[in-house]
């Protein structure tokens, strides 16, 4: 009985969460020009989409910003997490973590406008670089937050053990600390990646003429009524995310298998 209930509950929940997305995707194939009534099947919106050079280049920009910003944020955030962790005083650790968390919870609008002010004061031209820098900046706290718990539960004598076995400080880092932290580094990277893809508010403030990301573009188009081209794009992005998640899953299964059969990885 209990099992049946939880099944029904979870099924309804999932349907409710996915319904709007499927609705959106369904109308990507609509013959009509709006989301009112489904008038029949067509692929014309996809043709439109692929012909829209401007939109395609915006998609590429968006992914470029996401990959670059999450990559830099992961490297910088990892360094930050390691430094915070190496602090001796508990008070200092808490201060840094609180400052980190304030950035996490403060609204995007505030962060976006403060970046705008900063770039204007510095005379920095608004465009690709300003968007990239601000995406890196707001991703760093996320990465730090993902890595810190794993660092906290790390058994410190592992480092002693590695040194005892002859490892130099660099080897301790590259062969013990880094591989040990890798799962949290990866999830930090993916979190930063999705935050960057998602972001509208910060980008809206700091982008200038001639450079736009997907969310900003969709927003500006939506003001004139959403064309079904956007639906087609959403459908493609949804399928892309699905493929990414399957790949991520296969990778994590494979890395477990690799550990089981691993012989040469430390060499």
């Amino acid at each position: 009985m209990n099992k049946l209930f939880s099944r029904i509950y979870l099924t309804i929940l999932i349907i409710l969460l996915y319904l709007p997305i499927f609705y959106l995707i369904l109308f990507a194939f609509n013959k009509g020009n709006n989301m009112g009534v489904f008038q029949g099947f067509t692929l014309s919106h996809f043709q439109e989409l692929f012909a829209d050079k401007r939109l395609i280049s915006i998609v590429i920009n968006t992914f470029l910003i996401a990959i670059l910003s999450s990559l830099f944020a992961t490297i910088i955030g990892l360094g930050g997490a390691l430094l915070i962790d190496s602090l001796k005083s508990k008070k200092a650790v808490n201060t840094y973590l609180s400052l980190n968390n304030i950035l996490m919870v403060s609204p995007d609008v505030i962060i976006g406008s403060s970046f705008l002010i900063l770039f204007t004061v510095l005379g920095f031209s608004l465009g690709f670089m300003s968007v990239l820098l601000s995406h890196i900046a707001f991703s760093i706290p996320i990465v730090v937050l993902m890595i810190i718990p794993r660092l906290k539960e790390m058994n410190r004598t592992m480092i002693d053990a590695a040194q005892d076995l002859g490892a130099t400080n660099f080897q301790v880092f590259s062969k013990v600390t880094l591989p040990y932290l890798m799962p949290s580094i990866l999830s930090g990277f993916f979190m930063a990646f999705t935050y960057s893809l998602d972001d509208f508010a910060v980008t809206f403030f700091v982008t200038g003429n001639g450079f736009e990301t997907l969310s900003v573009e969709v927003y500006s188009r939506a003001r004139q009524g959403v064309s079904l081209e956007i639906n087609a794009l959403s459908a493609l992005i949804f399928i892309f995310s699905l493929i990414m998640i399957v790949i991520y899953y296969l990778l994590s299964v494979r890395s477990k298998k690799m550990i089981k059969n691993g012989k040469g990885r430390v060499v």
Binding site: D164, G166, K263, V266
Partner: protein, 359 residues
């Protein structure tokens, strides 16, 4: 020639003296235990030997060379850590191969050596296992394999058995001892468990308050403890105050007894140790001491009897048979069963005194 020496090693942490002027000598191929209660400085001593701590003053000499300033990764020793400290992101094979891989040993040799030590610790078929799939005893073995595969001159073991259950611990004691004899390398084993130290060691170094209280073979330390602390910490003891009347004559609980100790000034106040298993129960007439039994408990291989004499000194007796009466039983012991300790005698003076009359 000794393999490893600590010379006048002192360690001070934040104004607290953890080790005071330690001098020890470690010979090749022996099994040493550093035994002491927690806070006695034994782990600090191990960290100084392994190179994780630098002594405040004093020297660490290895094969005649001062290695006090060598970091841990430059010393020809390996450690088995208390909580094993295995690498959870590597499997058993990779954990064991870690040290050899760092030394750039070729893969073929590594795989041969790893297979050999895994066989030695009876984990032949566990190469591909993850660390969290192993039991505590198996993790312990991996930790030992990971250390000995590097063929160190000295293997340091920091309370490696304390996390195991009683039965497994006993087994591992035998296995460790056997392993040490097979490999012929020097083991330095840190423990607070006196039984463990007595069972496994060639030499025991008893530590307390940052000072080496006594070092010697298990039998020497058990039979001839240098002071109250050692007598109490190792095994169980009856310790009473006494007075040395003359060589081989000691007075305690108001009576004079013949004993086997000498070289102590006449009429000096001393402490007298009699081990509970050296006290035999006999009739009132044959007893050197008359006691009343307070309680008896059965311990499987012996009875533990608590008794007190007419001066209210407590006596602990280990006997294969229970006491039949509780009032007025006799206790008998030989002169050799009495061990006399001078108050505040240093280990050096103690050894010198023993040598002066023991032929």
């Amino acid at each position: 020639m000794s393999l490893l020496q600590l010379k006048n090693v002192t360690q001070v942490f934040d104004d607290e003296v953890v080790l005071k002027d330690i001098d020890i000598d470690i010979e090749k191929g022996k099994f040493y235990s550093i035994l002491g209660p927690s806070g006695s400085g034994k782990t600090t001593m191990l960290r100084i030997i392994s190179g994780f701590s630098k002594p405040t003053s004093g020297q660490v000499i290895f094969e005649g060379k001062d290695i006090s300033n060598f970091p841990a990764n430059k010393r020809n020793m390996n450690t088995v850590f208390q909580n094993y400290s295995l690498f959870p992101h590597l499997n058993v094979y990779e954990n064991v191969a870690f040290g050899l891989a760092l030394k750039k040993v070729d893969e073929k040799t590594i795989s041969k050596k790893v297979a050999k030590v895994l066989q030695l610790v009876q984990l032949e078929h566990f190469e591909g296992r993850m660390i969290d799939e192993l039991s505590g005893g198996q993790q312990q073995r991996v930790a030992i394999a990971r250390a000995i595969v590097n063929e160190p001159e000295i293997l340091l073991l920091d309370e490696p058995l304390s996390a195991l259950d009683m039965k497994l611990r006993k087994n591992m004691q035998y296995e460790l001892r056997q392993l040490q004899q097979e490999l012929g390398i020097t083991f330095i084993f840190v423990t607070h468990d006196q039984e463990e130290a007595l069972a496994m060691s060639d030499e025991i170094i008893v530590m307390n308050d940052g000072i080496v209280q006594q070092s010697g073979s298990p039998v020497d330390i058990y039979d001839e403890p240098v002071n109250h602390f050692v007598a109490n910490f190792i095994g169980e003891s009856n310790i009473v105050d006494g007075q040395m009347l003359d060589d081989y004559q000691v007075k305690f609980v108001g009576k004079e007894f013949e004993c086997a100790d000498a070289g102590i000034p006449q009429n000096e106040r001393v402490e007298v140790v009699i081990r509970p298993e050296d006290l035999d129960i006999t009739t009132k007439d044959n007893g050197k001491l008359i006691v009343n039994v307070d309680s008896q408990s059965f311990r499987g291989d012996h009875f533990e009897i608590m008794a007190h004499d007419e001066d209210d000194n407590n006596w602990l007796i280990h006997s294969t048979n229970p006491a039949k009466e509780s009032m007025g039983i006799g206790l008998f012991f030989e002169p050799e069963d009495i061990h006399v300790m001078r108050l505040n005698e240093s280990e050096e003076d103690f050894d010198a005194r023993l040598e002066s009359y023991e032929e």
